[in-house]
Structures are given as structure tokens and as C-alpha cells.
Subunit: 564 residues, 2 copies
Amino acid sequence: MAQLENRIAQGRGDEIADVVLRGGRMLDLVTGELLEGDVALCGDTVVGTLDSYEGREVVDVSGLILVPGFIDTHLHIESSLVTPYEFDRCVTPRGVTTAICDPHEIANVIGAPGVRYFQQAARHTLLSIKVQLSSCVPSTHMETAGAELLAADIAELMGDPSGLGMAEFMNYPGVIHRDPQAMDKLRLFEGGHVDGHCPLLSGRDLNAYVAAGIRTEHEATSPEEALEKLRKGMRVLIREGSVSKDMHALRPLLTERTAPYMCLCTDDRNPLDIGEHGHLDYMIREMIRLGTTPLAAYRAATLSAAEAFGLKDRGMIAPGKRADIVAVDSLEGCHAAMVWAGGVQVTDDAFAARTVIPPVGRGSVKAPTVTGASFRSGGNRTETDVIGIREGQILTDHLHEDIPITDGDKRPDLARDLVRIAVVERHGKNGNIASGFVKGFGLKSGAIASTVCHDHHNIACVGVDYDDMALAANRLGEIEGGFVVASGGKVLAELALPVAGLMSLEPFEVVRDRLEQLRAAAKSLGVTLEEPFLQLAFLALPVIPSLKITDRGMVDVMKFEIIA
Amino acid sequence: MAQLENRIAQGRGDEIADVVLRGGRMLDLVTGELLEGDVALCGDTVVGTLDSYEGREVVDVSGLILVPGFIDTHLHIESSLVTPYEFDRCVTPRGVTTAICDPHEIANVIGAPGVRYFQQAARHTLLSIKVQLSSCVPSTHMETAGAELLAADIAELMGDPSGLGMAEFMNYPGVIHRDPQAMDKLRLFEGGHVDGHCPLLSGRDLNAYVAAGIRTEHEATSPEEALEKLRKGMRVLIREGSVSKDMHALRPLLTERTAPYMCLCTDDRNPLDIGEHGHLDYMIREMIRLGTTPLAAYRAATLSAAEAFGLKDRGMIAPGKRADIVAVDSLEGCHAAMVWAGGVQVTDDAFAARTVIPPVGRGSVKAPTVTGASFRSGGNRTETDVIGIREGQILTDHLHEDIPITDGDKRPDLARDLVRIAVVERHGKNGNIASGFVKGFGLKSGAIASTVCHDHHNIACVGVDYDDMALAANRLGEIEGGFVVASGGKVLAELALPVAGLMSLEPFEVVRDRLEQLRAAAKSLGVTLEEPFLQLAFLALPVIPSLKITDRGMVDVMKFEIIA
């Protein structure tokens, strides 16, 4: 924050303000009024409003409405597939000036150094990145991750200026059953902020979870679920990711009355969606279009988010607050014409001037070389557990199909849309290969493979042709992870993600183009899903029902056990 | 807070809850609903709501409405004239379960040990007392206080579990003019909570004050003033004290929209008012009677107060929150039938079980023995500065009267209601005696004197008869401070306040009776003011306009200087 004496002197007009925004109107998040007057900035801090000021730099914002910068209250930056620097460049021009992130994707691959990478990058981005500490690495005991974070490891990561608490406590069974490791982690943050993750939890189970001191939650998918969480003192974060989309369901709950206690988040959102629809700006725009009052929508995106996470230095355009300001065309349009993040106007030059620290997690794909035969799998009986995909959801169905055994192998059956799915351990720990069946891709030939595979981020592979599956999986080793579409013995499209197998070294625009190529290539193989790689990524996440697959086998999530 | 595993186990119903409140309805501060269900307590913490529970103790609250305990966001407990223990006994049964206090009265008399006394007592009261650290001891350079708190002294008091920041920064000229001592104090709390006090400050001066990082304020006396403070990001605390009463003026600003950003406080409220009208319960009741919605009134008294001061552990009846619960007859009545403070039911037995630490500040009145002649004062000219009292306000008028000089002395003039006022330094520092004239008491004979005299707490004395003034002032030395009414050479009524000359050792009921006797005695001397001792106490406070008196002389507050 700008120096105390300077803030006071510029606020009082004794010294000329560093920057003055003149001619716009400002949305007052408390009263709901649109107010006129200069906004004076001293360094990274607003020091004057509703008055007239002289400025070393005066910016004309006539015709625009000034609103506080938007706060994404829960996301995994890794899911944007770019580094924090490129994420910054992708969303800050849209008005997102604070991102409360959980680096648990990279933590699952390389552990504490991955968290530290985010903490250090957070010092240099225009966007204010708050790095919560990942509570559940790995997400369960039913997978092989690249690293583990115990309470002691988390304790060593505390104290960084980017910190504000513990990230989503996904191991909700561990909380309510008082698992000692979970208790140790919660105790680290007693009295502080612990973010939640407890889909469908209710009644006394929810009471127990909240009584543990967990304050915020983003997994509610119905108004009833969100209402119970609100009534029990949780701040509810409305999520609109690329796969999990809850905004339309929860929006009716967001009124002027509840807005001080609700927030917005994106959780996992990829550059394609950000490019096509937007980020929090899209959520605000869409909610207002559907009938939410602008005051409620903007409060949830700004002041309420700051309050929920104890960020007393932001959430309003007011003296003493961080100069996070978005000049939008209209409250309804929510198109950012100009953005200031911590007093810095968001421009190409400002992005270019950032100190860039080298990415970590290079060469993280240490999988065994596989062959087509690696994916053969038979068994004793034809009745087979099959993952049933629900398009646009991360929940799956647990199906049962009869698949005949031919030469000791169950073969894909295109007529029934039953194709192979496999997970190959790629952290150099044990070389596990597990395989099973999935229904819902529509794949007719070839294979797709990915190292973005929640949360352990092993290699996930879906295919009709075992040799193409092997080609795709082995190619991921060569390009240090990413996405591959292969068919007929050839790679049709790929995106390298050399940063821990999760993030690209390229600008987000390049990533976006590659994603479109991958989507087209997958479609050419018959895939009917809109986002095949995103759906694939969540098929390996054993904390979301019902049937999933990890490198250790098929997981019955309802029983929380690996199927023998 | 109750132990983590116990909270979870009792919240889940795996273990029997310590206490269950059954049969009532609960006001949900977020949604505004009245909801049914048991409320389960584990030790000092709520662990279950909106469900059914078994309890070791089950309390029938049928027909009652459960609301969160009330939070007084700014007060000086010393102004209740009783110790923190008696204050606890006086207000907690009315539903006040948190008091954010500024111990600057006792700090002005004995310094840091006075603050420590409050910090230590706070560990034992049923009421949760949060002790803010006093920013302005003494209030100005124009008075002799018993002690001084510099930034280094304040730094030594930080870190106590009762702490939550710095108390009202009254030296607002020091802030906006960047006085180095003020800057040092503000810097101690950068990023933390600093409470404000800036009556009538507006425009760029207010911007500068808020830009210094000051977040909350209770001196707004008009809706316009409060609105400007709200728009500039301050939380506005509506005050209803015994002298300063702003509730009726500010109430229209408290709506459902603004309620999340407004709070209630009493600042200075004596046991007579608490007994006759109530405390925060009175404010809630009265505001609802006048048309404020119950949701807005209760939010301001509970959740919004907790949010404003970063008290994330309270403000709602919800799992994980402190078990501060008031069972009221109705939302409109706001009469507490039962109260739980930190899980302890508020009863005579619970009060009796508290550990009592011995009070400090005994024998603090070290004034010179005075005679009637001590109060004689003439001068060169008849034109005389006279303090004009405004009944029920702490603001005064700066009057000018011609008073003839007889035998080198200006005599009281009953026809014009001009009587002597004097301040006698009583901290054993210099024995200063300053005297002047005041208009508005209606006093016809005798004298009244007090050691409650903001903020330096010297002896303030008003009289028609100099010998009675001397008698009253000297009597204060004998009883270790307090209030005295004297006439005809006799003490008519008195209240001893041996704790720093500010607080009684008696139960609050005894203090209340004595105050009534003092009021009656003052009336018998002609006094027309409803609260003569309270009015007197503020005549010595040189941070409130217009004309005041300290031991160093008459103070022109507008010029911020002593009149030569």
C-alpha cells in the first residue's frame, strides 16, 4: 500500500494525486447509488472520491461507470492451461483484479515448490493473486499423486503475503469422521479462513463440517443446497466453470438481501470459454440479463467477496482501498473499457513490464513407455463396470454392461459407445496402468490422451484403438505433458503443457487456437462431447460421484473404495 | 473455542450435545427467515442448527425467538461508572454479549496498567469484552492527564487475546496534518483495524482521514454526515449514549440495503439510562417501533457489527460461531428472556462464579487542598468567555458576557444563570486550577464536583458558592474521586468512584440509587439539566467544539488553543 503520509497528503489535496479518473460515475456498493466526482489514486491506493482533484495524470473516463475490480473467490489457475502470467493477461483486461486460487493441481504433481511458484509469481502479476494453501494433496488414498502435502508441509508454506487461509477442504468425509490428518490441517488455521468443498452435504453432516470452522463453499448446485449452507453461516460462492455451471440454478437466490453473503467464482475455466463468453464479467452480465439487480450482482463480485475472505483492503472504490477499478460501458453490459489493478492501468506495456520468474515443474512426465498391449484387460466375467458420462457435469453414472472376453481382452464396442479408458501413472513412482470402460464419448476411431487429470494428473487416455492410445500416451512423455489426439498411427493435434504437465509456455491466444484444433480433431474421430478433454480430466477425480478411474483402478466413489 | 473434534462430533450427533435449545424459532440474519429446529451447543460454540439433537441439558425456549447476541461496537465501560464485572452484570442479561471497548478513561488516569486491567478482566466476564488500544491519551496537548500513551507504549499492549485494533482516533487534526506521533500510532495498525472519531469532517479532509486506513466511525450526527462516511467506505456506528443521542437522526439511513455496513454503539451510557430504557436492546426496540425493519435492526446489532470488526466467530446463530444467543419475547419487543454468552447461560450463579481480579487505580486523586479563594478570578476586562450548554449535546456554544469585577473577582450572576466552573488538576502533576464561567445549569446555590471529566479526568467543579466548591472538591480527594453535591457547608449527596476516580466498587444497583440521589440533590439546588454530571464531564473535553475548559484554562476548540 502507498505510504501513509502520501496517502493522506494526496487525499487531502495537499499534494497532487498520482492519477485522477475524471468524468465517470461510480457505483456505490453500499447505497447502490451512481455518484459523480473525481477518483484520486496515490500509487496502488484510492485516496479520494466524490470531490475534485488535481492529478499528475488525468484520465478521462466520461461516459463510463467505475466499479470495483472483480474478485474470483475460488479457482485453480492451472485449469486455464496457462501460467499465472498468461492468466493475468487473459482475465485482468476483463476486470478481474483479484483471484483467490488454490494451486492444488501443481501441488499434486510437484508438491510445495509448485505452491511457491504461485506465491512468487503473485508478487509480479497485475492481478492480485491470493494463494490459498491446498488442503487435500492428494485428494484421496486411492490414487498415486506426484507429491503429498501433510500438515507440516502446509505449515512451512504459511506466512507468505499472498496467503489468506486454507483452500477447499475437499476431504469432507475426513472432516466429519475426524480423520487425524484432516484435524491437524484444520488446526493450523483455527480462527483463520478455511474454504470448503462439500457437494450435497446436508443436515447434521453439514453442521459438523461447518462447526469445524469452514466458512465458504462453492459446490452447491441447487438453490436448496445453497440455501441450507447460507442459513448455516457459510458464504456461498456461485460457480460458473467450464464444466461445472451452477449460475443459472443458484442465481434466483442472489438478491439484494443475500448479496452481502454470496460471491462468484469460476473454479475451473479454460481460455476457450473465457474468450467466447468471458470470465466474472460474463457472470455479472448474464445474471443481470436474467433479472438479478445490478447492485446484487456487483456486490457479489466485489465487496461481498472481499468481506467473505477478510480482504479489508478492497471491494469498494473508496479512500484507503486498493485501486482496483473497472471502467465499464454500462452496469448491464459490464464490458471493461479500462482497468486499474493496484493502481496500475492494465495495458500491454504494463504486462510487458512484469518481472517473470521461470516456471517450475519441467520434465514432470515420467511414465513408462506403453504399447497397445498395455491396455488389454480381460477378467473373469463379462459384467463390467462402466463410467457413464453426463455431458457438462463432473458427476458420472455407475453403469453395468456385459462385454464379452475375446482372447483374454474386452474390446471396445462402438455400437454401444463403449470404449477403453486407462490411467497411466506418470510421476515415476510405480508405473501403474489401470483400465476400464467409459460410455458417452462417441469416439469411433483413434484415441485421446491428457496429463490434465484431476487431481493426481496422471495420464488419462480414452481410445478405440490400443496402438493409438499407446501413441498418444507416449507422445505426452515427449512433449512434457499436455493433450494429444491420435489416429491411424499419427498425432492429429496436440498441445504441450510442459509446466508440470498442466500449463503451457505459450501465450493464451496460442493455447486457445490449439484447443480449437484439438476439439476439431476429436470431433473428426466421432467425439460428440463439446469439451472432451475437460470431461476426461474429471473422470479420474475420486471425490466426485459415482464411478471414476485412477491409476489404481476403477473407484466406486459412493463406497469410497477401489473395485477389486 | 470448544475443541475441534468435540465440535464436529456433537455437530454430527455422534456425541450428545452439551446443551440443546429446543422449541424456539431462530432469526436467520442472512435470509431474514424465522426458522425452526434445535440449536446444539458444544461448550462455547454453536455446533448444530435446523435439525434435531439430543442434549445433556435441554432448555425449553418455546414461544421465544433466538437471535444472536448483541455487539456494542464502541463504548467506554468506565462511563457506566462500574467495573467491567458490574457492567457485565448490568448489560449481559439484556442480550449484550460483546462489548468493543476503549479503556481511554482509565488510561488517561493511570496509563497502561489501566488498559491491562481491562484486558485481564476480559478473560473472566460472561460478556466478551474486546479491548481496543487507546489512540489518544491524552486527547490533546491542552490538558494535564495522569498518563500518556505513546506508540511504543501501545505496541507493548498489543497481542492480547482481547485485542482487535486501535480505538477511536480522536486526534483527527493530527491525522490529516500528518503529525508524526499520530503517524507512528497508525503505522502500528497498518492493515489492521483502526476505529475512527471525526465529527463533522467531510470532503477531502474526510478522504484523507479514511485514506489513512480508518474503517469505522461513530460521531456522525446527521444523515448527511453518515451518508458521506458510508459512501467513502466507512462502517457507520449509530450511537445512542446518555448525552450523545444520534439514533433518531440516523435511523432513516438504516435499511435492509445499508444494514450490512452499519452498526450500533452506546459510547457513554450510564446505569440510570440502562436501567430506565435499556442498552442495545433499547436501540433495537426503539428503531423497530419507529419503522426500521427487524432484519435491518438486528443485522446492525449483530452480524454487521461482527463483520465490521473482523469478528468472524460471531454474529449469527450457526455452526462454528460463538454461542452468544438471546431468547427474546418477540423481534419487536426485544426483551431478553434468556441469554447465553459464549455458551454460558447468563444467571446470578454464573456471575457469582467469575474469577474477580482486584481493581487498579486506587488512591488516584492527588489534588491540592483548595479553599473558596482558590476559585476567585478577575482579569482586566469585563467581557468574559462563557461556555453555553446545549442540553443533551456534548457540543457547547462559545458565549460572551459582560461580568463586572468586584474586589478582583467576577462573581456568579444567578439572574443570568452565570456560575463558576473550575478544573483542578488531580493527578499530582502540577496542581493547576483554571476557572471560568458556564451558563445553562440553572444552579442557584451550592456546588457540584466530579472526577469524571473527559478525558483527563481532573476535578471539574461548578458552583455558586466558592466555599461549597472547595468543600466538594476536597471531598473528592477523601472518597478517591466520584461525584459530590454540596451546599451550605454540607455534602448533600455523593458517590465514591475509587477505581481511578472513575468506577465504583459497588454493585450497579447501588450506583444507580446514588445517581438518583445526586440528581435529586442537584435539582434541590436549582439545577435544571436532566444529567448535570454527564454534561459537566464533557465540558472539559477539548476535542469537541466550541468552548471548553481544562486545568490549563478555557479552550477555544475551533482555534484548538487555550484562551490567554
